[in-house]
């Protein structure tokens, strides 16, 4: 059987993830350097998941979504809330909640978070995907952007003391621009528990990549490609574009939602879900990852995500150290803006020099296809 090696890989992967997780909890207090790298690993994994999901819609199905952050944000709010309520139900004391939770506790909380988030986000993805039946290209992109902006602006738009009716009150409970910090317990915010370590993040991301690769090589993947290249021709050979486009949106939404949830509940996480997660530049970041790697290529998107995230954190660290070392002008520079400028510039240059990205549509160890 051909499938066996894949499952062996998965098992080995799980073992590695568990190992990483223990390493993470063990080294958290002890070794700052190790923790730094594991933090990057967690961030990379989450972005790989997010980029892999976006790649299904943008790369494989050729529908241009620029509202990915909306799903990520939705997943973050939902996942954060579920995690907080589950943690409270588990009667974890407040003091412990503000620290990283144990691996055993994560075994209970994370599945409780991931499953409902995936289901709800998939449902929302279905709704957002429906316009793809009527709209094409730019117009569809606008709708996806509209979706994420509606979510973000709704959360931002209401603060507790101005909330007048039940709808606005409910929205105000999400904390507005201050961010969501879970329910109140004894007059104090519970905060979002920091529970998902490398085991969950790297594990889920690896599983998503694996799934996406299988998807691409299956009949489903071929159908998506047909829809991307020419909808009319695809429907002429019996591929129903509507079904495939909407399914692509559903898958991408579920993946993005899980990524968002993990972002909210990751180890050493912020303990808060901020509406900034849904800002357009977050969508832009994911688009950059996918495009850098080559849209349509699963390994390309994953590598793009790892590259982006690694450069992101390493450059931040480098800038911090340089500033500490007294490189004068760096102290006054807005590091985030500088980084964003560099990423944007890179993206524009990549578009001009190599519009198809690093990999094009190819996979990592795949030979170049003969030109048609």
């Amino acid at each position: 059987m051909k499938r066996v090696p894949a499952w062996v890989l998965v098992l080995v992967g799980c073992a590695v993830c568990v190992g990483l997780d223990y390493a993470y909890s063990a080294t958290v207090a002890a070794d700052r350097g190790m923790k730094f790298w594991l933090m990057i690993a967690v961030a990379c994994a989450i972005n790989v998941l997010s980029a892999t999901a976006l790649n299904v819609v943008n790369g494989m199905a050729g529908q241009f979504s620029i509202g990915h952050a909306g799903f990520v944000g939705l997943g973050a709010y939902l996942g954060g809330a579920v995690a907080a309520y589950v943690a409270v139900a588990m009667k974890i004391p407040l003091a412990a909640l503000h620290d990283n939770l144990s691996f055993v506790q994560s075994l209970i909380i994370v599945p409780c978070v991931v499953v409902p988030v995936a289901v709800v986000c998939a449902a929302v993805g279905f709704v957002v995907g429906l316009p793809s039946l009527r709209l094409r290209g730019d117009y569809l992109a606008i709708v996806t952007l509209g979706f994420s902006e509606i979510l973000r602006l709704t959360v931002l738009g209401t603060v507790e003391d101005t909330a007048k009716n039940p709808i606005t009150k409910a929205i105000a409970a999400l904390g507005g621009s201050l961010g969501y910090r879970g329910p109140k317990l004894d007059g104090d915010f519970v905060g979002i528990p920091s529970v998902a370590g490398p085991f969950w993040t790297v594990g889920i991301a690896a599983f998503a990549v694996f799934l996406a690769l299988r998807l691409k090589r299956s009949g489903f993947g071929r159908a998506l490609r047909a829809v991307r290249e020419d909808e009319i021709a695809a429907s002429a050979v019996g591929v129903d574009p509507a079904r495939y486009k909407v399914t692509a949106f559903v898958l991408a939404a579920a993946g993005a939602g899980i990524a968002g949830a993990l972002l909210a509940i990751k180890r050493d996480g912020p303990g808060i879900v901020s509406p900034a997660n849904m800002r357009f530049d977050k969508s832009f970041e994911v688009i950059t990852m996918v495009i850098l790697g080559g849209s349509g290529s699963v390994s390309g998107a994953a590598i793009g995500a790892v590259l982006y995230t690694a450069v992101f954190y390493l450059s931040e660290e480098a800038l911090n150290q340089a500033a500490r070392a007294g490189v004068g002008f760096l102290a006054n520079v807005d590091a985030a803006a500088l980084r964003m400028a560099l990423f944007a510039l890179t993206l524009v240059i990549v578009m001009l020099v190599r519009p198809e990205g690093l990999f094009g549509e190819r996979e990592l160890f795949e030979k170049k296809r003969v030109a048609r």
Binding site: F147, E149, I150, L153, D230, L347
Partner: protein, 315 residues
């Protein structure tokens, strides 16, 4: 009455900026995300010239605002044309196939992000404000916008370059067959759109908004929605869309959802797109253009289908 005038003023400012989106979309079928950053940058130029060089309200007065507006318009034109020349033009020459549809959009987003971060680096995130005494009366805002838009209408309908613009927007290839150089028309389109955005930026920032690196994404997005609302690619559509949004914004203020004004705007945008995908005024034309896109594609494949047809006929 003052309520009406306010709404109209809001709307006409939005419309001024929306025109840039719609005109570029008309000739290039590209959502120029960088337009909002042209708006933001010209706001900064106007502010800096007025405040640092001309001494703000104290020394410059209204004359100072006029001069700085002129400088901002020039700067915006240069920036807009520059973006087109350095980021979009090379792409038009080489991107093809599936990337040809997405690459320009990604580039536009990239340029927008780049300019926004550059502004943050250069001007910091701290909002800047014009002296409130420099704000023109609401009536003037409406008047200025109306005059500018009337001028634009005349330009598009009565001059050669305006006719060339319309021809390119309908069918670029046919326009080239008439000897029109699309690259020149495109450059002029960017120039005009950017100039209008600069005027809009000055009106906006003198009357209400503060100037900050993210002002492009908030005001620009609103303008973009207006353009889609009226039917992107349609000049009267952008004007109508802007005014409608102005009224909408003022109306929402009366409800308990006032904080969610922008969310409601987006909700409406999505609904408009769903039920009238080409906007209020753009329907017939957009449908035609999509049909033409299909026809164009069929033509590209003509030799092969011809072969198939021959093969069928032979068998």
């Amino acid at each position: 009455m003052s309520w009406l005038l306010n709404a109209l003023a809001q709307g006409s400012m939005i419309a001024l900026i929306a025109l840039g989106y719609t005109m570029v979309y008309g000739v290039l079928r590209l959502i120029n995300f960088a337009h909002s950053e042209v708006l933001m940058m010209s706001g900064y130029v106007a502010f800096l010239v007025d405040d640092r060089l001309l001494g703000g309200y104290q020394h410059g007065g209204t004359r100072g605002v006029l001069i700085s507006t002129a400088v901002a318009v020039v700067a915006a034109v240069l920036l807009g044309v520059g973006i087109e020349a350095f980021a979009y033009r090379p792409l038009r020459a080489r991107a093809r196939g599936a990337t040809a549809r997405i690459a320009p959009l990604v580039t536009a987003i990239g340029v927008s992000m780049l300019l926004q971060s550059v502004a943050q680096l250069a001007f910091t995130a701290t909002p800047q404000k014009f002296d409130p005494r420099l704000a023109p009366p609401v009536g003037y805002v409406v008047l200025i916008a109306a005059v500018v838009m009337a001028g634009l209408y005349a330009l598009v309908h009565l001059t050669w370059i305006g006719k060339a613009m319309r021809a390119v927007s309908v069918n670029a290839e046919a326009a080239r067959l008439m000897g029109i150089r699309p690259s020149r028309v495109i450059a002029v389109t960017f120039a005009i759109g950017s100039g209008l955005a600069a005027i809009g930026a000055v009106l906006y920032s003198t009357t209400q908004a503060s100037i900050e690196p993210t002002m492009g994404s908030s005001i620009g997005t609103l303008a973009f929605v207006a353009a889609v609302f009226g039917g992107i690619g349609s000049i009267p559509g952008a004007m109508l869309g802007g005014v409608l949004l102005g009224f909408l914004g003022e109306l929402v203020k009366f409800t308990s959802f006032s904080g969610m004004k922008d969310a409601i705007v987006f909700l409406l945008l999505v609904l408009v797109l769903l039920f009238r995908p080409a906007g209020l005024l753009g329907s017939a034309r957009a449908r035609r253009s999509s049909r033409r896109a299909w026809r164009g594609r069929a033509r590209t494949f003509a030799p092969s289908t011809g072969g198939i047809r021959r093969a069928c006929a032979g068998s």
